[in-house]
Symmetry: C2
């Protein structure tokens, strides 16, 4: 590694390069199997420099989770214009979500799989991100209900459940789309929109599915 | 532990008691924090007997995952009568699923959280169960499409995506229902049915949600 150029690059830039390399390596190999040697080599820096900047494998992994969680939430928020109708917001948000997870498959693997498969404190980082997304979706459903003048009729508990269902469906579909050859982000978003909105849409219009008589 | 009764009980029965205690302990404390001492005490047996029967903490955890995965799939299959209409099958299946996860919260924690948060080979056990459930839901959607005479119109990829979305939604909702006070299994099933079936129902009737013009 002695020949690697380590000069004249601001620390912030080099740190991002290390995180890029770490996300790819953790996503590809898994947290346990990923080695600091491999990450340093991919980042084009020496291993001691990685330790100097990011302290430990645990801290490096935590930094990866934080950066990628922030980037994903940011991508979804940026994709949505809150002055548009609720179904349009959901469609835009889903497209942004699936585009981001498709473009950053290693980051999604880190967030959805790796961060949850190696205990605390990693899992807590992802839980915080997830709660933020659930809150965002909850708000979207509340606005949609208001638009449909169903505000007081859709109980808070039902809205919370619907938001959890929608987020769980999106997580599941993103993992599937990234392994199913040839499924585009737009297709995944359209599938979920068909599944979710047509269902939510009925609910907003007071056309719930009714259980059969026992 | 010397005073514990260990006689005159068939090995199979005692093993189930150990697994009962292990599922509760793993679900409550998490895999890492759970101790074999605690599991043995809760099962009312000596620790050496747990090791004699189940070999190691890893093997004990694997045995828990296998038993609970089998029980969950069995509960859903038993709840569904395949000669009924597809929406009734889904409703029955969801009620069976949420009833089982509500009645066995520690088992659900082991399957949904613990088994996925401690790497392989545990995660692979849950993946196998999940694939079985996805296949079951896929078949249900195919049958529903056939009933609605939409068989050739609903592409295989779309069906696979819908099944992934539905299973992800159910997983997410089960975890939420078990932590949200006072949400019954029937309420959780009804929320998901509203979300999923009204949406799937529209799809079957050729009323997909259509994207707005760009």
């Amino acid at each position: 590694m002695g020949t690697v150029k380590t000069k004249r690059m601001p620390r912030a830039v080099r740190e991002q390069q290390m995180l890029d390399a770490a996300v790819e390596t953790f996503g590809r190999r898994g947290y346990m199997a990923a080695s600091m040697d491999e990450i340093a080599e991919l980042a084009g820096v020496s291993k001691p420099l990685v330790y100097l900047y990011l302290n430990s494998k645990e801290d490096l992994f935590t930094a990866c989770i934080r950066r990628e969680a922030t980037a994903l939430v940011e991508a979804v928020r940026t994709g949505v214009r809150t002055d548009l109708p609720a179904d349009r917001q959901l469609w835009d948000g889903l497209r942004a979500f699936f585009a981001h997870t498709a473009e950053h498959p290693h980051a999604w693997s880190v967030l959805h799989l790796q961060a949850r498969t190696h205990g605390e404190p990693f899992a807590a980082e992802v839980t915080a991100m997830r709660e933020e997304i659930v809150a965002f979706v909850t708000q979207l459903i509340v606005v949609a209900a208001r638009e449909a003048h169903r505000d007081p009729d859709l109980p808070e508990r039902e809205v919370a459940g619907l938001a959890e269902a929608l987020v769980g469906a999106a997580e599941s579909l993103a993992a599937w789309a990234n392994t199913a050859d040839g499924t585009t982000a737009r297709q995944a978003a359209a599938t979920l929109m068909n599944f979710a909105w047509a269902g939510l849409g009925n609910l907003m219009e007071s056309r719930p599915w009714t259980p059969p008589e026992a």
